[in-house]
């Protein structure tokens, strides 16, 4: 471990060296004096953050990638051997055979496809609702933001209690008012994921609402007035002034919500409490592979594939949604 850390750190120093080397060449080309002292100062100032990112972000990623090529078994760490692409092959085979991983991908895909527009749409609606100076708006802002401050585990338990299958559940008591018999929402294959989506969107949208609100205040009032004079109705003003004004924020929110949604794990894990077809997601699957089946190597390979997938989709989103360079 120490040796590999030192090797990677040496690579980092090499990168620093290369940066200095190319900077010196560039300075010479433009007949400018290269201030080596300044470069060293800059690198020294960068060092704490770099070290932090290195030890807590890059190193774990590289280790995880490394494990993906081994048969690392949690209970037998000393018997680890290099197995090449076997883990990746196994993952693809499981998908092809329609195993748990295939179900996890399907569930995660459903979750992402529904929760991203739902959560962002809800956040935008709430932000538009709260974006005025009327008295009392602040109360709504606090109410909508409150779920963000509560722990995921707590809200998952809260929703579990609301949706519990017994007749004492809040939702079932409510349905009973209309004579509808008690339902077991979280054990039903058709509705379980739907309620996980609802709980996630409800908890997450407050944060995005806040970001949208700050972006909305950045859109100048005169633009709306100009649009009114130009003949736009309220919906056209939203389409032609608000949305373009929110575009940079929207891109950021789409990407972050998408990445967050791909990693969904806590709600399906805590709200349903059973590893079942209806609630496995990719993260839940990886967790199960490590802590139930002890297959760290295999799980790392799946994690690596997932990272590549999320990265690719994010790049595509940036390309299509991002600001076009002139």
């Amino acid at each position: 471990m120490l040796v590999s850390a030192l090797i990677i750190f040496a690579v980092f120093l090499l990168i620093f060296g290369l940066v200095v080397f190319f900077d010196v060449r560039k300075a010479k080309k433009h007949n400018q004096k290269y201030h080596f002292g300044r470069a060293v100062t800059a690198f020294l100032l960068l060092l704490p953050a770099t070290l932090f990112a290195f030890f807590f972000v890059l190193l774990p990623i590289l280790y995880s990638l490394g494990y993906g090529f081994t048969d690392y078994y949690l209970t037998k760490p000393n018997a680890t051997e290099f197995v090449g692409f076997d883990n990746f092959k196994a993952a693809f085979e499981e998908i092809a055979e329609g195993g748990d991983l295939a179900k996890a991908i399907k569930n995660t895909a459903i979750f992402v496809v529904v929760v991203v527009p739902l959560q962002i749409g809800l956040a935008l609606l709430l932000a538009l609702f709260c974006n005025n100076k009327n008295r009392g708006t602040v109360i709504f802002k606090v109410c909508f933001f409150a779920p963000v401050t509560v722990s995921l585990a707590v809200t998952a338990y809260l929703w579990k209690e609301i949706l519990t299958g017994s007749e004492t559940g809040l939702m079932n008591q409510f349905l009973a008012l209309f004579g509808i018999p008690a339902q077991d929402f979280l054990r039903n294959d058709d509705t379980a994921m739907l309620w996980i989506v609802v709980a996630s969107a409800w908890q997450g949208c407050g944060f995005q609402m806040l970001i949208f609100l700050s972006a909305l205040t950045g859109i100048r009032k005169e633009l709306y007035e100009a649009a009114r004079m130009d003949g736009c109705n309220a919906f056209q003003r939203f389409l032609r002034v608000t949305l373009p004004g929110l575009k940079p924020t929207l891109v950021y929110i789409v990407i972050t919500v998408f990445i967050g949604a791909c990693r969904i794990m806590v709600q399906p894990y805590l709200m349903i409490n059973v590893y079942a077809d209806r609630n496995i997601t990719i993260s839940y699957y990886m967790y199960e592979q490590v802590f139930t089946s002890y297959r760290v190597g295999y799980s790392s390979a799946v994690a690596f594939l997932m990272t590549i997938f999320i990265g690719t989709i994010t790049l595509i989103q940036r390309k299509f949604l991002g600001e076009k360079k002139r």
């Binding site: 007035e225 649009a227 004079m229």
Partner: protein, 412 residues
């Protein structure tokens, strides 16, 4: 054709201060101590008739209600009381989009994500136009349709040609200077061919040189289009050089509505007299005493000016009763002449501006300064004493208490 009539227009903003709490109201014995929030009256009884094709300028200091009035005409502010008519149609509750007016904002208000072309074309793309079509049976009927691409392009190119911005059409607002942005904003307004143009301090963000050139371009545009223009500014030079009719406002109240020259020559009150003209009109507190033939004005330092009433503009007979009346004498800097006889004045400082020189003087034993504008060029020395001559025909007299002019106004 667009004739506007503003009848008793008022705008009141409710106070943002909080009412005293219910406990305070219940337990304060002396109710007069409870401070009630007062509403803010931005515009008060605004009456104005604007003929078709006029270039009307609303001018006044900051906070006088000129922009509020313009925004009420545009429909961006509600009218608290009074009526606004365009061609005899009541507009009070008509949405801005249906008023057929175009507005140019101080901050240009160009859509930052659109190019100059798309900014100009924006209104055309949104609005529908009426068109008559003939169906297979030969019946003609009126339909509403959007402009075609070719129509939009033709109009945008026409506006760009007039404003000289053809080469800017592909640029976004962030890639243009303030003057270029303002031209695009003007283009966006003219391209729709509205009945009325509303311009809210459109030149305030430009530098002095650009402002002068844009000023003449807007006047040319008005002459070319022949549409009604309503222009808001705090700059009296803009008002004087551009408007065919000027509305001077203060504290939400119209002070005077007149042609530029009449406003300069025959101000209704001290405010208008002081606001219009550069440098500002000089004011002296005087005591007026006289009859229909001779008028004596006694200045604060005791000097008396004997004026021939027949040479002056006609004075309100109430003041010609041989009694003493407290008045304010107003004389423009260019109407005070250095002469052999007249009132004694001392030179404090001077500003040589090229063709003219501004002499800052004060009466002997008085500290209050006034300005004399002279074409004379000589070696001015601080503390030099001069005698100043008043041109009787060009002096202004105001009642000290009411501030209103006691001289006859322009013959209409």
């Amino acid at each position: 054709m667009a004739k506007l009539l503003l009848s008793n227009i008022c705008k009141v903003y409710p106070s943002r201060d909080k009412q005293p709490s219910i406990f305070k109201r219940l337990f304060t014995k002396d109710k007069s101590k409870l401070k009630k929030p007062e509403d803010f009256v931005a515009v008060k009884n605004f009456n104005l008739e604007i003929e078709d094709g006029e270039f009307v300028v609303f001018v006044g200091p900051s906070g006088c209600g000129k922009s509020t009035t313009l925004r009420m005409i545009a429909g961006l502010e509600d009218i608290t009381a009074g009526e606004l008519y365009m061609d005899d149609v009541l507009l009070n509750n008509v949405d801005p989009m249906n008023r057929d007016m175009a507005m140019v904002f101080q901050s240009y208000a160009l859509y930052p994500h659109l190019t100059a072309y798309d900014n100009i074309a924006f209104g055309l793309k949104i609005r529908k136009i009426e068109d008559t079509v003939t169906d297979k049976d030969g019946n003609t009927k009126t339909i509403k349709r959007h402009h075609t691409k070719a129509e939009i392009d033709e109009k945008v190119q026409w506006a760009a040609e007039i404003l000289g911005i053809k080469e800017l059409l592909g640029r976004k607002p962030s890639e243009m200077s303030g003057g270029q942005c303002q031209r695009v904003a003007l283009g966006r307004a003219i391209v729709r061919g509205p009945k009325v143009f509303l311009l809210d301090e459109p030149l305030s963000n430009l530098d002095a040189k650009l402002r002068t050139s844009m000023r003449s371009e807007i006047v040319k545009l008005h002459q070319r289009l022949g549409t009604t223009f309503i222009y808001v500014t705090h700059d009296q030079i803009e008002a004087m050089t551009m408007g065919t009719k000027i509305v001077v406002m203060k504290d939400g109240v119209i002070q005077q509505v007149d042609k530029p020259t009449d406003l300069f020559l025959y101000p209704n009150n001290i405010f208008v007299a002081g606001f219009i003209g550069t440098p500002q009109m000089n004011f002296f507190d005087v005591v007026l005493k006289g009859d229909s033939s001779k008028v004596n004005l006694t200045l604060e330092d005791g000097e008396t000016l004997a004026l021939d009433a027949k040479k002056m503009r006609k004075i309100n007979p109430e003041y010609l009763d041989n009694e003493e009346h407290n008045c304010v004498l107003g004389v423009r800097a260019e109407h005070l002449k250095i002469a052999d006889k007249g009132i004694n004045a001392v030179l404090s400082i001077f500003e040589i501006l090229g063709t003219t020189t501004h002499l800052f003087m004060h009466l002997e034993n008085q500290e209050k300064e006034f300005i004399v504008a002279t074409d004379e060029s000589r070696a001015w020395v601080h503390g030099d004493k001069f005698k100043l001559f008043f041109d009787e025909e060009k002096i202004h007299l105001f009642d000290k208490e009411s501030g209103l002019s006691i001289l006859e106004g322009a013959k209409k």
